[in-house]
Every structure is written in structure tokens, then in C-alpha cells.
């Protein structure tokens, strides 16, 4: 895809987004932008509406109000698969792998939009089809080596360690060739070492020109990794800015840190 | 992840299940799969509904054929060979009938088939038995069964074109009905019987004011009956089997439709009709080829035999008994050669419970029916056969 990707231009713009479930406002009149090539973090207490936000961006649920623009195109009413094909890919808070697939096969699913779809070429194994397929295989090999799963490519994804399962999810998301990668609490439940490894992986992904929008609880990770942070609470935006600003933002300290500390 | 123990447990359970299925299959197939009949038995098939709404008929027929075979075998069999019955459940449906007749002919190597009871399955299955040159002595009422040009197909009951005029005549002359409403089964049997009845109206000065259909197995006839009720007929003709006749008359009474009901043939002649219909089927008139209270030596012998073997003496039991006797006679005379067996059956002349058994060129019998009525919960002859 040849889209003019200026640095510092907004890749994703969210305007007045609202969604309520049975009277509870999960996301309320939320607006913010994600800039090109940033690692943008979303933080907020449990139940603040972060995952709902991701579901709204990826089209899994439709907002009551507001819109989502990706690369200056309105994607609010698109189906999730269309949004993925536009270049928005994601991982899930609770790992969602395909239990009956090996690592290789799982990542292969990510290349669907480039190889899959048409049955007839696959039936007759036309030349273009075979070319596309070997291209896809090459890319998967590249991706798997990149995330460090090449050695376990033939094992069942669901039987890997927790950390590696996360990596499979990330590899699968990367295989869709995204411009924007949404990561929903990718380091939850991981030890220090695994977290460190993933963080450097994210940096590398980012260096390849992929914008990252990440939900995280680990403050250390958020502050050292991201260059922009949006804080939400009760579905509303509480604060926004670079880590230095957020770190000392009074409202954030009160609403989020205060509670986090008492909980800890 | 499955623990080792769980896998073992599952394997064991699976094996148990597998044995269950295989065991059941093996037990049942061992009776039937030993191919051609061995030297000292002759196999005859019974094609009849053994399950479903018509299961009572199949059971009655099975009882009749078994009685006959028991009698023949105890008297030494035919030409030194014992008769063996292979029962095939046609579920009163055409495709099952074809499947089961196939099995009886190809796997069990039956020499002849008795049945089926219902017309449509018989019409379908005779297309298998005909080319295989297997005698097929059926109990379907549809006049279409006379038109198959299958030389191996015979019929032990009377054809609809004999039953229908008899009962229509009676209803017009004795009961003075003018306007008749018809409700019939939407099968070859029902349709052809209704057509035959309609043809006979021209000479009799009666009219069919409506013709309602139902599918075999239906239980709710309120829609048809309330239509009929608004037309105020003198009588209602029901073409159907005992289940439907009983339900139709019951529901008619519930809806306040109190007129004379009649049927063109004896398909509902069964104790089950009284059991299901109760008071509602009282006064039902129908044409019949058999009277179980007849005072003939054959009937007495049959009843004694039935009592001895603890089998209810029903109309269809008696008719099937006759069919079995006729088949046995033909097989004895023909000696197992398909064409000779056929000729023997075509030229048969014996006297059975249902009167003289003789077949015309269509394979039909030409006896005349009597008219019967349900009175005080029993079947009474109200007009003898001519």
C-alpha cells in the first residue's frame, strides 16, 4: 500500500466516541489521536473502558455515537475484517489462539487477505496462486524469526508457554502487514524477563514503521516504552500527554495511582 | 492437556461402546446374513409396516403368516422343506419398502413376498420384485395395483373397484344419502379410492360436495372437519386406516358433526378402531371381504388355531393367513422354479377363510364384498355378499 505516511500526522483519530451497555457508559464521548510511528499507551483503572475502546476501533462492536478515522478514512461502520484489511491489527487481552493449529498455521491465518479468499485458484493451483503462497511463506518465516518462534513453528500454538503464546499472537497480527498494531495488555501475567524481552520486541516493531497502540497496567513499561499516553477513567479521557507530563498529572495521580496504590 | 489416566479411561469407555454397537449388530445380522436358504428351508418374506402408525397391521399380518407356516410346517412342510418367515419393516413408506424388499430378495433369497399392506409402498416395491421374478402377493386396495403389468404381482384382498361400488350402492339405495363429503388419505390408496367412488356417483344420483385430504400420520383434522361441517353433508366418506378413522370420527363428534360415516373398504376393520374411537365410531359402515363371526369351517379352524397359539384373531390376521396358504400351495406345486411358481399361483383354486381364492388375469380376486357396521362396539354384517 502506498499511502503518504508523514511523520507526526495522525494515523488514527477518534472523535466523540460513545458506547453504553444497558445504561452503563463504557466509553463516553472520547476523542484522541494516535500519531504516526508513535508508541501510544492507553492506561486507566480496571473497567475504565479500555478493551471496549479496542473493540470499537477494530469494529467488533459498533459505537452509539462518534466515529473512528484511520488514515483519513472513516472506518466506524466497517466490519472487523475490513478494518484489518485496512491495516489495523490487534492482539487480545485473553489470548485467543486457534487450539488446533500449529504456530506456523496460526501465523498463516494472518496472511489470509494476501493468499486466501479465492477458492478456484487454489483448486487449480495457478501460477499466480503458487507465487503468492510462496511469498506468504517467506514472509511468515521472516516474521517467525523476527519474534523468535521459528524453532517451535511446528508445535501447537496453544501448548506453548504463556510468553510464547503472546508472541504467536503478535506474529499473527504482524502477518496481516498492519500500519497500526493494537496490543491489549500484552505483558499481563509475565515475569520481569519476559516483559523486558517483549518490550524490546515492541521497539523493534515500531522501528519498522508500525504504529503501536498499547493498553498496559505495568507503569514502568508504559513510561519507558511509549511516547504518548492517554489516561481514561469511566470511559472518559482524563489526561493526555507524553510520559513526563502524565507521571505528574494531579488528576491521574488522584484517580488512577491513588487507587492503584491502595490496591497494591 | 489430557492426563494419561484420562486417556486410558476414555479408551476403555470407547471400547465398551464399540463392543456394544458391534455386538448388537452381530447378534441381529447372524439371523439374516447366511445367504441362500439352506437345503431344508424355503424362505418367504413379509413386507409390512412393523413400526410407526400402521404397526398394528404389520403385527396382525405377521401373526397370520406365522400361524399358517406353523400349521404347514407341523404337517411336514412343503415337498419336505420347512417354511421360514423373513419379516421386513417397510414403515408404510415407498423408499423403505424398496430397501427392505431388496434385502429380502438379494440377501435372504426369499421365494415369495407377502404384503405390503399400503398401496404406495407396494407399488414402489413391486418394481424390484417383478424383475427379480419373485412372487408378490399384496394387500393393497388401490385399483392401480391391477395396472402394473407385473405378472408376479397378485392381490389377496379385493380391489378398490369392487369395494367402492358395493358400499356406494348401499349408501345410496339403503341410506338414501345424496350429498357426501369425502376425506381421504393423500396416497395412492386414498386418491384412487376416491376417484373410483366419484365415478360410481353418476349412476347413483349422489354427489360429492367436497374432497378433503390428509397425510398419513396426521392427528389433527379440525380444519377439514369444520369445512365439512359448514357444507352440511348427509354422510361423510373416510378413506383411511383405523388410526385416522377413529380420530376423524372422534373429532367430528367433538365439533358437533353428527352424520353417518362410512368407508369404502375394510382397512379400518380392527379391534384397534373400537379401542381408539370408542363411542365415536359407532354406526360406521364399510365394505368388507371377511366377517370374523362367519360360521364357516375355515373360520372355525382358523379361530381355534389362533386361540391355541394365543394370537388375536383379527381381520388382517385371517387375510394374511389365507395369503400364506395360497403362497405355500403355489410353491409346493411350482417346486421352486420362478415361472412354475407363478403359473401355479395364477391358476390356484382353493377355499380359504376369505372365501374361494382365485386370481384373474390382473392377479386380482373377484369375490364380492359384504357390508358391515360397527354396532355396540362389535363388527356386524348388515348386508351379505352377493
Amino acid at each position: 500500500m502506498s499511502i503518504d505516511l508523514h511523520n507526526d500526522s495522525a494515523i488514527l483519530t477518534i472523535q466523540n466516541l460513545s458506547k453504553s451497555f444497558g445504561g452503563v457508559k463504557a466509553v463516553n464521548n472520547l476523542s484522541f489521536s494516535v500519531l504516526q510511528n508513535n508508541i501510544h499507551a492507553i492506561i486507566g483503572p480496571n473497567g475504565a473502558g479500555k478493551s471496549t475502546l479496542f473493540n470499537l476501533i477494530t469494529g467488533v462492536i459498533k459505537p452509539d455515537m462518534g466515529n473512528v478515522q484511520f488514515l483519513h478514512q472513516d472506518i466506524t461502520s466497517l466490519r472487523p475484517d475490513k478494518i484489518a484489511q485496512h491495516g489495523v491489527s490487534r492482539t487480545f487481552q485473553n489470548i485467543r489462539l486457534f487450539p488446533d493449529m500449529t504456530v506456523f498455521e496460526t501465523v498463516l491465518i494472518g496472511t489470509y487477505q494476501f493468499t486466501g479468499g479465492n477458492l478456484l485458484p487454489a483448486f487449480f493451483r495457478t501460477k499466480t496462486f503458487r507465487n503468492k503462497e510462496s511469498e506468504a511463506k517467506e514472509r511468515i518465516e521472516e516474521t517467525l524469526k523476527f519474534v523468535g518462534l521459528w524453532d517451535v513453528r511446528n508445535e501447537y500454538a496453544a501448548q506453548l508457554s504463556y510468553g510464547n503464546q503472546r508472541r504467536v499472537e503478535i506474529a499473527r497480527a504482524l502477518a496481516t502487514n498492519p500500519h497500526l498494531l493494537l496490543l491489549d495488555e500484552p505483558t499481563a501475567g509475565m515475569n520481569q524477563k519476559e516483559t523486558q524481552e517483549l518490550m524490546s520486541l515492541f521497539s523493534e516493531v515500531n522501528q519498522q514503521g508500525i504504529t503501536i497502540l498499547i493498553i498496559a497496567h505495568d507503569m514502568h513499561l508504559v513510561y519507558s516504552l511509549s511516547n504518548q499516553i492517554t489516561v481514561i477513567n469511566f470511559g472518559e479521557k482524563l489526561a493526555e500527554g507524553p510520559p513526563e507530563v502524565i507521571q505528574n498529572h494531579p488528576a491521574v495521580l488522584e484517580a488512577y495511582m491513588g487507587r492503584a496504590e491502595t490496591h497494591a | 492437556m489430557h492426563s494419561k489416566k484420562l486417556v486410558v479411561k476414555k479408551m476403555v469407555m470407547f471400547l465398551v461402546l464399540a463392543f456394544l454397537l458391534v455386538g448388537c449388530s452381530a447378534k441381529n445380522s447372524s439371523t439374516g446374513s447366511s445367504n441362500s436358504a439352506s437345503g431344508d428351508t424355503l424362505r418367504v418374506g413379509l413386507q409390512a409396516p412393523m413400526t410407526g402408525d400402521n404397526a398394528q397391521y404389520g403385527q396382525d399380518m405377521k401373526n397370520g403368516v406365522e400361524l399358517a407356516f406353523k400349521k404347514i410346517n407341523s404337517e411336514g412342510g412343503i415337498n419336505g422343506k420347512k417354511l421360514e418367515l423373513i419379516v421386513g419393516d417397510d414403515k408404510a413408506t415407498p423408499s423403505e419398502a424398496v430397501a427392505v424388499v431388496n434385502k429380502m430378495i438379494n440377501n435372504d433369497r426369499v421365494k415369495a413376498i407377502i404384503g405390503g399392506y399400503n398401496s404406495s409402498p407396494t407399488l414402489a416395491s413391486q418394481e424390484v420384485s417383478g424383475p427379480a421374478k419373485v412372487l408378490h402377493l399384496n394387500m393393497g386396495a388401490s385399483p392401480d395395483l391391477s395396472k402394473t403389468k407385473n405378472p408376479y404381482l397378485f392381490r389377496v384382498i379385493l380391489t378398490g373397484s369392487v369395494y367402492v361400488p358395493a358400499v356406494m350402492n348401499y349408501m345410496a339405495k339403503e341410506k338414501n344419502v345424496k350429498k357426501i363429503a369425502a376425506i381421504f388419505e393423500n396416497t395412492d390408496y386414498g386418491i384412487t379410492m376416491y376417484d373410483a367412488a366419484k365415478q360410481s356417483t353418476k349412476d347413483l344420483g349422489v354427489d360429492f360436495i367436497t374432497a378433503e385430504k390428509y397425510n398419513p400420520g396426521d392427528k389433527n383434522f379440525s380444519a377439514q372437519l369444520s369445512k365439512i361441517k359448514t357444507l352440511k353433508p348427509d354422510a361423510v366418506m373416510v378413506v383411511g386406516l383405523y388410526n385416522e378413522v377413529a380420530l376423524i370420527e372422534q373429532q367430528a363428534k367433538q365439533a358437533g358433526l353428527n352424520v353417518q360415516f362410512f368407508s369404502p373398504d375394510d382397512s379400518m376393520y380392527s379391534e384397534q378402531l373400537i379401542k381408539l374411537g370408542g363411542d365415536a365410531v359407532e354406526n360406521h359402515i364399510f365394505a368388507s371381504m371377511i366377517d370374523l363371526n362367519a360360521n364357516t369351517p375355515q373360520m372355525k379352524e382358523f379361530k381355534a388355531l389362533a386361540e391355541k397359539n394365543n394370537v388375536p384373531a383379527q381381520a388382517n390376521t385371517a387375510i394374511a393367513f389365507d395369503a400364506a396358504m395360497a403362497i405355500a400351495k403355489a410353491l409346493e406345486k411350482g417346486g421352486g422354479n420362478a415361472d412354475k411358481d407363478r403359473d401355479a399361483l395364477a391358476n390356484i383354486d382353493i377355499s380359504g377363510i376369505t372365501g374361494p381364492i382365485k386370481f384373474d388375469k390382473n392377479g386380482d380376486r373377484s369375490n364380492t364384498p359384504m357390508i358391515m357396521q360397527v354396532q355396540n362396539g362389535t363388527f356386524k354384517v348388515i348386508k351379505d355378499s352377493e
Binding site: 444497558g22 473493540n55 467488533v60 462492536i61 | 413400526t51 410407526g52 402408525d53 404397526a55 398394528q56 393423500n186 378433503e212 385430504k213 390428509y214 397425510n215 396426521d218 392427528k219 389433527n220 383434522f221 379440525s222 380444519a223 377439514q224 369444520s226 369445512k227 361441517k229 359448514t230 388410526n243 377413529a246 380420530l247 372422534q250 373429532q251 363428534k253 367433538q254 365439533a255 358437533g256 384397534q272 379401542k275 381408539l276 370408542g278 363411542d279 365415536a280
Partner: protein, 288 residues
């Protein structure tokens, strides 16, 4: 003809309403369709029939059938469904189809396929109102249905047990946290729903006979009614049942009796596609 069909419709509708209650109650607590509910209807009728053969007084035989139905529902839950709480809902549904095949054929094995008539003290008598004749058994069905509905409403809203069932239908897990035994509530729900279903079968027995496959269409229509009324909505199920019976009767009377059973199926498809929350609405759990 119009009045005739209306009465037929109301009688049929009462039966569908009783059946619909069972589906809706089970849905409430477990969020799944107990496909084998039609077999409870059949089982209850057969047990009553059998008790009558043993010369049991008619009311006792009816009661016995209802209790047997309740027990059958309870048993299904205990033996199969309870062991599948964590399985996908679809597996539960397939298991239910399996149970229904087993029960139908066990009934056929024991009692045979031949339809039998259940006795009723009212069947052979008609009321005559003006020019109309109405069968007493029909009136009996309608009265008993209304009675059952009133009792059920009282039970659900006035008793502790009923309230617990209602609470369970909001959130079965929360109920468990609050110290109410969820398994017990589920068992009770199954038993009550099944008892009502068995009663429907017993009421129908004298009119449309008792036979092993009698529950198939009754079950489908009860289910259709429960979907029409909004899954989980008990009063909705009752009204929808009546409505379905009346629509069906008129369709059979004025369009074609052969397609009588198709009417309910078309309505079912239509409701599922156009208004899955039913006419009277209740939120259906969405999968996200």
C-alpha cells in the same frame, strides 16, 4: 367455521403455552435450549396411560404423569446436562437431541408405536351454547392452563424459591456467590418446567392420542412460542403460545391443512431473523 377454528386455536395454543414455559425457564437459568423437552411431554402422557391401565383412579394417574415428567426433566439435568456445564452450548444442544432420540425410542420399545387414547372424563360430552357445540375436555384444557399460569406466577413472585429462580435467571453465578445453591435452583427449574410440559402431554392425550413421536412437533411449537414470546420471558411465552395456536388453526382452516406445521416453522424463522428478542422482548445474550 370462524368460531370453530378460534376454539381449536385456543386449545392448541394452551398446549403450546404450557410447552413454551419449560423452554423459557430452562433458558433462564442455563441459557440453552432443552431440545429434549418434547420427550417430557410424551413421557408424562405415557406414564399416565400406563397408570390408567393399572386401574389407577384417573386424577391420580394424571398426577402420576405430571410427577413422572418432573422426574424425567430432573434426571436429564442430573445425568447429562450437569456434567456438561463447561462444554460449549452447542454440545449441550446435540446431547439434548441425542436424549430425545433415546427417549422416543425407549418409549417405542416399551409401549410400541401404536397410538393409544388416554381417557378423559369429559371427552364424550359437549356443551351447547346457542348454536355452538364445545367439547368439555377442551374447556377443561383451557381452565387448567389458566390455573397453571396463575399458580406459576404466584410461585415465581410470592415464594422464596420462586424469587431464587428469578435471581438465578439474572445471573446464575452471582446467585451462587450469594449462598444459594445454583445446582438446586437448576434442578427445581427443570422439574417445574418439565412438570408443566408433562401436563400438556396428558391434556392432549385424549384428543390427539399418545404415541412415541408425539413430542416432536409439540416441542418444536412450544419452542417457537418461547422464541416468539422472547426467550426467558415467562408471561411472554404464555401469550405467544396462545397466539401461535390461533394463527396455526386459522392457517390450517383457511389456507391448507397440509402446511399446518409449516406455519409455526415459518414464524420461527421469521422471528429468529427479524426480531430475535421476541415479540415481547427480553435481551438475548450476545456473543462478543
Amino acid at each position: 367455521m370462524f368460531v370453530d377454528q378460534l376454539i381449536n386455536g385456543i386449545v392448541l395454543g394452551s398446549i403450546y403455552a404450557l410447552m413454551a414455559i419449560g423452554y423459557t425457564m430452562v433458558w433462564n437459568v442455563l441459557r440453552f435450549i432443552n431440545f429434549a423437552h418434547g420427550e417430557v411431554y410424551m413421557g408424562g402422557a405415557f406414564v399416565s396411560l400406563y397408570l390408567l391401565l393399572l386401574d389407577t383412579p384417573i386424577w391420580l394417574a394424571y398426577l402420576g404423569g405430571v410427577c413422572a415428567g418432573a422426574f424425567l426433566g430432573y434426571l436429564m439435568e442430573k445425568v447429562v446436562y450437569m456434567r456438561m456445564r463447561k462444554a460449549p452450548k452447542l454440545n449441550l444442544l446435540i446431547a439434548a437431541i441425542g436424549i430425545s432420540i433415546v427417549l422416543q425410542n425407549v418409549a417405542q420399545y416399551i409401549w410400541g408405536a401404536t397410538p393409544e387414547r388416554l381417557n378423559s372424563p369429559f371427552l364424550s360430552k359437549n356443551f351447547t351454547i346457542a348454536d355452538m357445540e364445545i367439547n368439555q375436555h377442551y374447556v377443561f384444557i383451557i381452565i387448567l392452563t389458566i390455573l397453571v399460569m396463575i399458580v406459576l406466577e404466584l410461585f415465581m413472585n410470592r415464594t422464596l424459591m420462586g424469587k431464587a429462580v428469578q435471581a438465578a435467571s439474572q445471573d446464575i453465578n452471582a446467585t451462587q456467590l450469594m449462598g444459594i445453591n445454583a445446582n438446586k435452583i437448576i434442578s427445581i427449574t427443570f422439574a417445574i418446567g418439565s412438570a408443566v410440559g408433562a401436563l400438556a402431554g396428558i391434556l392432549v392425550g385424549p384428543v390427539f392420542l399418545v404415541y412415541p413421536t408425539m413430542g416432536v412437533f409439540a416441542g418444536l411449537k412450544g419452542f417457537t412460542a418461547s422464541v416468539m414470546g422472547g426467550m426467558g420471558n415467562i408471561p411472554g411465552a404464555m401469550i405467544a403460545g396462545l397466539l401461535l395456536g390461533i394463527i396455526e388453526s386459522f392457517a390450517a382452516g383457511f389456507i391448507s391443512s397440509g402446511y399446518r406445521d409449516a406455519v409455526a416453522m415459518v414464524i420461527l424463522l421469521f422471528i429468529l431473523l427479524v426480531r430475535p428478542q421476541g415479540i415481547f422482548g427480553k435481551i438475548i445474550q450476545q456473543k462478543v
